[in-house]
Structure formats: C-alpha cells, structure tokens
C-alpha cells in the first residue's frame, strides 16, 4: 500500500550525488544487545538524513574487510559502496613507496568489460578521484547495455595504478527497442510501430526513436506506481 507519496523526486540524471560522510572510524563490529526488541527508537538527530540513518549502535559502520560492491541503478548509473581496512591501505602504500615516491591519489577505476572480458582485459576505463571520507558513489556511465567492473586503488604521479580492491561484475540494461530481430517473428516496420505505439497511447505511430522518447516520458511522469496517492489529492 502506498501512503502519502510525493510524486516529484529530485534526482537529476546527470549529476552524481556526492555525500559528505562522517569520517570512517574503523571500529570493529559493535555488539549492543540492549535494544533487541525495540522498534520505536527515534532516529538520532544529525546534519543530514544520509548521516542519521547509519550512525547507530544497532548496525556497525563497517565489517572490517576489503570489499567493493557494484549495483545497477538504471541503464546509465551504477552505485558502488566499499570498505577498505587500514591494514590493506598501509600495506599497499608501503609497496608503492618502495617503487616510486611522490603523490598518489585514491581513485575508483571503472572498466568497461563488455563482451565477456575479465580483468586485466577490458575495453576502456575511467577514473573518479575519491576523498578519504567517501565510502559510496553514484557512477554515471552514460552507457546502457554494457558490462562493468570497478577497482579502488592508488594512482601515482607517474600514472601507474595499484588496486586495493576489486568489485563484482554488473551489466546495465539496454534502453530502447532492440535491433536484434527474430526472423520467425518479424512484422513489417510500419505495422510494428503502430502496434508498439498503441501500447503507449492511442494512435501513435513513428519509428524506434519516437517510441523510445514516448516511453521515456511515460516512465518518468505518468504511470509509475508512486502516483497513486496523488489521485485523492487532486481536488485539494
């Protein structure tokens, strides 16, 4: 059941939300058993909703492991969260210092591994520079229907990259009408787009791009499940 839902959301497609998170304390898992059965504990006040939700003794901040997880938000955006133990960071920093001195930056390196590639093989990559306090990131890949793997590591002044941790592999969904045709089930284009157009609105015809635009409009505005409660507000 949906209750008091806001129709408008403010999550622009092309801006990575950067969050100022509290400095990681690297504490081991806390074991508080006091509030085992409580459900009505008020959330602690904090500067932002993002902080208030996870600063709490019922769940630890980190689990004391080296881990990077990629998740798919939509055809263009991925979400990554991670934790890297201080031990792992020190160990790698030490190795790098033995080879070359100078500055190094912590970066999230995102590889396009489409076509079933596995690192060290990849098609291309891009880097996102991280500050030491971040432990999650929304990644704008801009590319539907591709496969991705990420690493967090140090990039040295000479441009060499030393990975600390590697993620799982994900695939962004395709966006748009497939170019893959199934001969046994083909329809002439003209009939096809009248048919697909009808699934969006009455008497729409056109080509793949028109249909795609219409569908985008629908997905964003008209029929998402969040709209329901707004119905009753209409007369207010």
């Amino acid at each position: 059941m949906r209750r008091s839902v806001k129709k408008k959301t403010s999550s622009p497609k092309k801006r990575a939300p950067k969050r100022a998170l509290k400095k990681p304390s690297r504490k081991p898992v806390k074991k508080s058993k006091k509030k085992l059965l409580s459900t009505v504990v008020a959330a602690k006040p904090a500067e932002s909703p993002a902080q208030s939700t996870w600063v709490d003794d019922r769940v630890p901040q980190y689990y004391g492991e080296d881990k990077l997880v990629l998740m798919v938000r939509d055809p263009w955006w991925l979400f990554a969260y991670w934790e890297i133990t201080p031990g792992r960071q020190k160990q790698l920093a030490h190795e790098i210092d033995k080879k070359e001195g100078g500055d190094r930056k912590t970066v999230l390196r995102v590889y396009d591994t489409s076509g079933g590639l596995a690192l060290p093989r990849f098609n291309s990559f891009f880097d996102i520079e991280l500050n030491v306090y971040s432990d999650n990131w929304y990644i704008d890949t801009g590319m539907p229907d591709r496969e991705w793997v990420a690493e967090i590591g140090y990039r040295t002044a000479s441009g060499r990259f030393f990975p600390l941790v590697r993620s799982n592999k994900v695939r962004t969904p395709a966006f748009g009408i497939s170019e893959v045709l199934d001969e046994e089930w083909m329809l002439p284009d003209e009939i096809y787009y009248r048919l697909i157009g009808r699934s969006l609105s009455t008497n729409v015809s056109g080509n793949s791009m028109d249909i795609r635009k219409l569908l985008e409009k629908y997905l964003k505005n008209v029929v998402s499940s969040e709209n329901t409660p707004e119905l009753s507000k209409k007369g207010l």
């Binding site: 008091s4 806001k6 993002a50 997880v69 979400f79 395709a174 008209v222 029929v223 329901t228």
Partner: protein, 528 residues
Amino acid sequence: MSQGYLSLVLHAHLPYVRHPEHERFLEEEWLYEAITETYIPLFKTFEALKRDGVHFRITMSMTPTLLSMLTDPLLQSRYVKHLERLIGLSEKEVHRTKNDPQFAPLARMYSDLFHEAHHIFCDRFGRDLTRGFRQFMESGELEIITCGATHGFLPLMDLQPEAVRAQIQTAVRTHERILGRKPRGIWLPECGYAPGIDKILKEAGILFFIVDNHAIVFGTPRPKFGVFAPVYCKTGVAAFGRDLESSKSVWSAEEGYPGDASYREFYRDIGFDLDYEYVKPYLNGDGTRIHTGIKYYRITGNSHKQPYDPGYAAQKAAEHAGNFLFNRVKQMEFLAPLMGQKPLVLSPYDAELYGHWWFEGPQWLGYLLRKIHFDQDVVETLTPVEYLERHPRNQVVTPTMSSWGYNGYSEVWLNGSNDWVYRHLHKSVERMVESANRFAQPAEHERRALNQMAREVLLAQSSDWAFIMKTGTHSSYAVNRTKDHLQRFTHIWEGLSKNLIDMPALERIESVDNLFPDIDYRVYASTN
C-alpha cells in the same frame, strides 16, 4: 467470439507489521484499514458478481506477508477490537447527525458498512479472510498468485542468487500452506525483474510473472507483439507486460478516474474534522489525530467541499466503467487485425487503490465486469494461465532489468535516503548463506536459531522500508524496522557462531517475528 482479452491484476500487499509488545501500534492500522476498506469490499464485489451469474476472471497477488497477517490470531483479534471501536464511533455519528438531512444518510452508510464487515469477518469466515478469497480461487474466477516472501526488491539482490531463491521458495511454501495450492504465477515485488531471476522462478514451479511495459518492449530480440502477447524467457517461464493505455486511465493523477469530483474525498476525515475530545477515544494510543475511515465529503474541485452523494458517485463509477470498456473495445479492434491473433491487454493495479484510496474502486470493478459480461462480445476477461493454455506458442524474448517504480528501474530503492541498507543486507545474506552451508545437521536449538536468522534477513529486505525511507512519511519507522531486524539477525548469528545461543532472546524474537512458521533455513544453502 471475442476479439481480445483483458487480464486485470490486483496486487494486494502490506509489509509485516505486528507489535505484540505494544497494546496499540499506529502502523498496524494499515492492515485494519485495508481489511475494512479494500479486502472486504473486493470480496463483496466478487461475491455479488458470482451470485448474479457474471462470468469473470481476476488475478490477485496476495503476498506472503499479507497472508501471514490475515491468518495471525493476534492481529485478527486486534482487528475485531479496532472494528468494534469504529462501529461505536459510527453509531455515535448516526446519533449526532440524526437531524441533518445531508449527513445522516452518510453516517448510516458507514455504520452499515462496518456492521457488515464485522459480520463477514467474524461470522462468515471465523476471522480468517483468506477463506473468503480461497473460495473464488477454488471455483476458478480468481487466480491468486504469490510475491517475494517479504516483498524484497529482487534486482538489487541478484548478486546473491541465494537471497532471491530464499524470497521465492519461502513465498511458495507460505502460499501453499495458507491457500492449499502452489502458486502458478508471481507478482515480482515492484515488478522488479533482472535476467536470471526467471531461472529461480522455474525451480519453484512458477509459470509466469508480471513486468512493466519497457521490460518487454526493450527486450531482446525485439518482441513481435509488444506487450500484447506474453513472451517466454529462455527458461520457458512466461513474462506478461503491463499495458500503459489502460493503466493510465486508473493510475494517472491528471487523467485517472479516481480524481473525479463526484468521488469521495480521502483527505477529509472526521478524525481531523471533528472536535478533539469527541474523537479522542477512537484515535491511536498517543492521541494524534488520524484517519478513522469516516469521510463525508466529495472531491468537488478546488472550491468549498460538497457533501458526498453515494448515488451520484455510483452513477459516475458506472459511467467510468463504461468508458474503460469502450476504450478496451477500440483497443482490441485496432490491435486484432494488426496482430492476426487475439491481443492480450494486462492491467495491473495496487489492490489498495481500490476502496482505500479510491472508495468507489470496487464498485467500478463490479460495473466493469458486468458490462463485459452482459453488454458486448469484443472483450473477454481471462487469467495469464488461461492465456497460456489457449496460446501455448509464444516468442522467446529476454526482458530487460526494470521495475514499475519512478523512472522505471531501481532508483526508488537505491538513492541517498536508503542506499546505506545494502551494505548490511548483503552482509547478512553472506553470513546466512555461510551458516546454511556450515550447518547441514544442526541440533534443535541451532536449527531454531538458523530459521529465525532466515526470518530476520527476509524481514530486513522488505522493499517497503527502502520505499518509505525515500518518501519521508513514517521514515523513522522504516529505518528502525531495518535496523531491528539486522540487529536481531546479528545477535543470533554471533551466538550460533560461538556456540553460545542466547535462548531467552531467541525465544523473544521468535514470538515477535513469528511469520513463516515452517521456514527452512536451507533455502539459503548454495546450490553449486
């Protein structure tokens, strides 16, 4: 001979909310309101149709959490108390308005509705409303399908297939225990699909699932008939896509029927409108004003609210049902010749839209099904399973990852307000899988601990919590529920791992989070 098929799907779901530790609990009222305002009115609609010899077919998902709450003795007895309080209030209202020609009939209407609900709930079904729906399932009008065990959003779980499998297997088991039959179809929570999930559905014996329009239209290869015929995944499980044109006429805030000025206004409730001392005994424990369910005004427009007129509203519902059918007839007549076969239009809705939000919704549904039966022969209602029986040959297409949420993908459940949960959910699943693999032959107390851990993981995964965090209302409740289940999980897991299970705590947790009594933690074991 009809020219096309209409498949109406109602998704009935509420998250598991049960707080024996409090005498009254605000969020428990979600269930009580839904029983009075949606589930009983839908039951009455189906019963009246059947009594009048109307042939109809409806598909309804009843989620495992909803089925569990509807069959829980504590919640059943609390609902009766709630309803009896409401009957008391409605009788007071009959008395208060007796000299007011506009409001007296409305007060009487609510009083009658609540008395009737009491009769249906207590006298006819012995407090177990699932029996009411089960009879239509057995006689074939109603196809009841399942959902994820706790409505977990599966695309954000799919890096751990064991988590998806546990949601599905536990759902199937619960459905069969309560309804006496294995489900043939599933409403994927939030219509959330990602390629590969169908493999786990297949293992569970599920024949079909429902997805949003773009899951099919953007599928590979290009689907010949768009959403007007189902497709098979490579596993042979069928995917049915949502038709947007028919959805829009009910869902849309701008164009949808429920916003019509003659319908009842949801937001004008005597819980807010009447003198505080008068309504106070009927408010929830802390005395905050809430909806009582007694609402006297119609939507009206932007001006002064007019009193509700049930006769006028019923006429409007009939008119809207006629309009919906007219548009489906046009749609079928357009599609059938293009396709060279009968099109299928699948229209899914949240069940709670009907009756709870849109008071006249169940009436509208009744009128629609009567008109389809008596007034025309172009459109015929049928269930997805019946479609597959009549048209077993369908194209093989892999749908795309998608959902029916805002923007069509995972954003509603993965954004700055709720993304923190996944670090913990994934860790719990990892520990759960590892424990399930390790304890192949557990002692009895270990088995109980493992089963309760499984319940806690599932409860923490409800998509409702992430959704509520996103929308803001009740968000502290959603945050607390997530953390409580995670904490309970971790506490039991630590005890199990150290061979020091805290039995008194385990028993307390079992008594509070008591759903899925026959759960088997081994659903989390790795299969390869």
